[in-house]
Symmetry: C2
Subunit: 150 residues, 2 copies
Amino acid sequence: MTDFKEAIESAERKCSQRGIKLTRRRREVLTTLLEANRALSAYELVNLCNESSNEPMPAMSVYRILEFLRAEQFVHKLETANKYIACKHIACEHEHKQPQFLICNDCHKVQELDTAVEALSSVETAASMLNFKLLNPQLEVSGSCGLCKT
Amino acid sequence: MTDFKEAIESAERKCSQRGIKLTRRRREVLTTLLEANRALSAYELVNLCNESSNEPMPAMSVYRILEFLRAEQFVHKLETANKYIACKHIACEHEHKQPQFLICNDCHKVQELDTAVEALSSVETAASMLNFKLLNPQLEVSGSCGLCKT
DNA sequence: TCCTTTGATGATACAGTATATCACAAATAA
DNA sequence: TTATTTGTGATATACTGTATCATCAAAGGA
């Protein structure tokens, strides 16, 4: 309950540094994602926002706000799952390119890796031999997280 | 025009080896995908099938058939694009796990790599340290293919 | 201060992607 | 032959996302 407050404050700070605003609605969406502590679909977000506040949250707004939060790297989209998850490093200062995710097929929990940087660099090498330039590469692989091997 | 015939024959052969059937409808979908020679959405497939044959192809059938073709590894789904593409190796005998795709953001052409095997193995290592087991890992990265740098 | 501009949000419609279900026919097994 | 499984057709509906226009409020200039 305090962990995500720090993340919000950090996002707030980064926004003002960047000359943009973390508005009430944007904060609402980001907070909801942080509290959920898992990947959510856009409509799950809509519902959660509506449960925890009185002003109804239009689905359109959620999509728009997610675009904003992604552009600022506060949120990632899991393209393979059509879900959104708060970036693990909102509160960090370092830039972090090349996000990498392990997605559990059973419990659907997501772990954001920081470790396998060389994975993408080897793809990059292979790609460049085909004259292909990677753009904002993101890696998503699914499997089974040790916890739910039933 | 002869290239994909070989692929169909090979698929036919594999199916009979496996005790399953490449029915007329399934062959229709697979042929359409091979002829297109690019990634297609499910509904693009529906339309193309309808153009080249008189019996209307229901969208439901395309989805069902795509599931079948994926299970047999004749077709891959690009999860990040919601499109389907014929496997480059339908006619090969070797098993090929870990498909890897480079997807061009501009022309949307897709190249299936065979080369960057070590990419996934380094993810695998990182994952196993978290007690996470990869399952049918597939890699999709987008960027710009040398051809359409405008 | 007033006005204008810009950015954010609300509201509605609709396009695109996918699944659930039931019915029926053909192929296979008992 | 009868029963069962498998593939397909048909319809409905859920889920995901974009287009568009209106409104409102904050920011900055005259």
